[in-house]
Subunit: 217 residues, 2 copies
C-alpha cells in the first residue's frame, strides 16, 4: 500500500538515538523522516526546506535551545506543525510544561516502536495524542485543581546557572564566588528553588531537576 507517508522531523541531542529512531520509523513505511536536528536552533535552520514536517518528535533537555523553548517557537511561527514530546521521565512538571508549551502529546523513550508509530499517526490526524500517561496527569490535575503544584517550573538565567553548579561537590560559598554573588543571595536562590521543586535538601533538588529535565549531567 502506497498512501501518503507522514513527514516528520526528529530533534534530539543524542546522535545514535536520533538516527536509530529515524531508521526505525522509516522502516514502518508510513512515516518519512525529512530531517533530524541536534537541538532547537539546529532545527530552525533546517526547517527552511520547501516541504514542512507534519509532526516533530521533540526531546526536552538539549543544549543551546531546549524542548520547551523550541516548542513555543514552533507554535508561534509554524502553528500547523504538531509536536510530540519525547522524554525519559514521567514527572508531572515536564509533561504539563511541554503540553502548555504547545506539544500535542508526550511519549516516554521507553515506549515500544509500534506505540510511537501510533502516536505519530494519531497526532498527525488529530493534532493531539492522549495516552494514559498524559490523560492520567491531566485528570489528576483537574481533580486536585492544584495549578500551583503541577505548574511547569520557570527559572531565570541565574537560578538555572545556580542549579547547574549545584550538581557538584562545590559548597554554596564556592558557588557564590563563582557567580560573583553574596552567599546570602545564593541562599535566596536555594530557598526559591526548594519551594518550586518542593524539596528540603540540595540532593533532592538535584534529583528533581534531573527528573524534570531542567538540567543534564
Amino acid at each position: 500500500m502506497q498512501t501518503n507517508k507522514i513527514n516528520i522531523a526528529i530533534v534530539d541531542d543524542h546522535t545514535l538515538f536520533r538516527q536509530g529512531l529515524a531508521h526505525l520509523l522509516t522502516e514502518s513505511n508510513e512515516i518519512n523522516v525529512l530531517f533530524d536536528a541536534d537541538n532547537g536552533a539546529d532545527m530552525i535552520k533546517k526547517l527552511c526546506g520547501e516541504v514542512m514536517p507534519e509532526v516533530i518528535l521533540m526531546d526536552i533537555t538539549m543544549p543551546i535551545m531546549d524542548g520547551y523553548e523550541t516548542t513555543k517557537w514552533l507554535k508561534d511561527n509554524h502553528p500547523e506543525i504538531n509536536v510530540l514530546a519525547l522524554s525519559m521521565f514521567e514527572e508531572d512538571k515536564p509533561i504539563i510544561g511541554m503540553l502548555k508549551s504547545g506539544a500535542g502529546g508526550y511519549m516516554l523513550k521507553q515506549s515500544k516502536a509500534a506505540d510511537l508509530v501510533s502516536a505519530i499517526k494519531g497526532i498527525a490526524s488529530q493534532s493531539f495524542y492522549i495516552n494514559e500517561l498524559v490523560s492520567g496527569k491531566l485528570l489528576r490535575n483537574i481533580q486536585n485543581n492544584q495549578p500551583v503544584k503541577n505548574a511547569p517550573i520557570g527559572l531565570n538565567p541565574n537560578e538555572l546557572k545556580f542549579l547547574e553548579l549545584c550538581c557538584s561537590d562545590l559548597t554554596y560559598k564556592q558557588i557564590a564566588d563563582m557567580m560573583n554573588l553574596s552567599p546570602h543571595t545564593i541562599d535566596n536562590y536555594r530557598e526559591a528553588l526548594f519551594q518550586k521543586f518542593e524539596v528540603k535538601s540540595r540532593t533532592g533538588l538535584v534529583i528533581s531537576a534531573l527528573k524534570n529535565e531542567l538540567i543534564k549531567i
Copy 2:
C-alpha cells in the same frame, strides 16, 4: 558486495534506543543484528540459539543484571564473544571497569553511526577496538600509575542500597531507619563511598554515582 555479515546482539534497557540502533546498523549491510535484550539476564536467555553473535553491544546501567556483571559472565561462559561497551559518560571508572570486566572497547552513545560501525568491525576482526577515548584513559592510567585512583568501584549490596536511598530528600537518619541500621553505620557507608568516589559531599556522591553508571534515576 555480499561478504559475510558480522552477527551482533544489543543489550540495553531503553527499547526505542535499542531497536532504533538495530535498524540503523542493519542498514549498513555489513552487520546483522541477531537479537536484542533488555538486560543481562534477558540476554542469557536469548543466547541459546544455534548461531552466536560475534560482538555484543553492551549498556552498563541496567535493571536486574548490569553491564559489568553481564560482561564478566560472557568472558566466563562465552570467551569468544567480544563485548563493546556503550555509555553516555566518559568517566574513568566505568571505562576501566568495563575493560577489566572483559570488554574489548568502549564507545559513547553520542558517537556517530559510522564510527560505531567501524568499532564493531574492528572488534570483530581483532577482538578489541581502541579509540582515542580508551587509549587516552589507558595511557594516563599507566603514566600516573595510580591503580587505586582509577580502580573500578565495587560496592556491596548494602552500600548500593544506601547509594540509591541517597538520591532523595531523605536525611541520613531516615535512611538509617529504612535500612534498619544505626546512623553511625550509615555514616561509615557514607565515609567509605566518599573515599571510593573521591567526593566531599552527598551531592557530589550522587552525581558521581550517576556518571559512573552505578545507579539510575
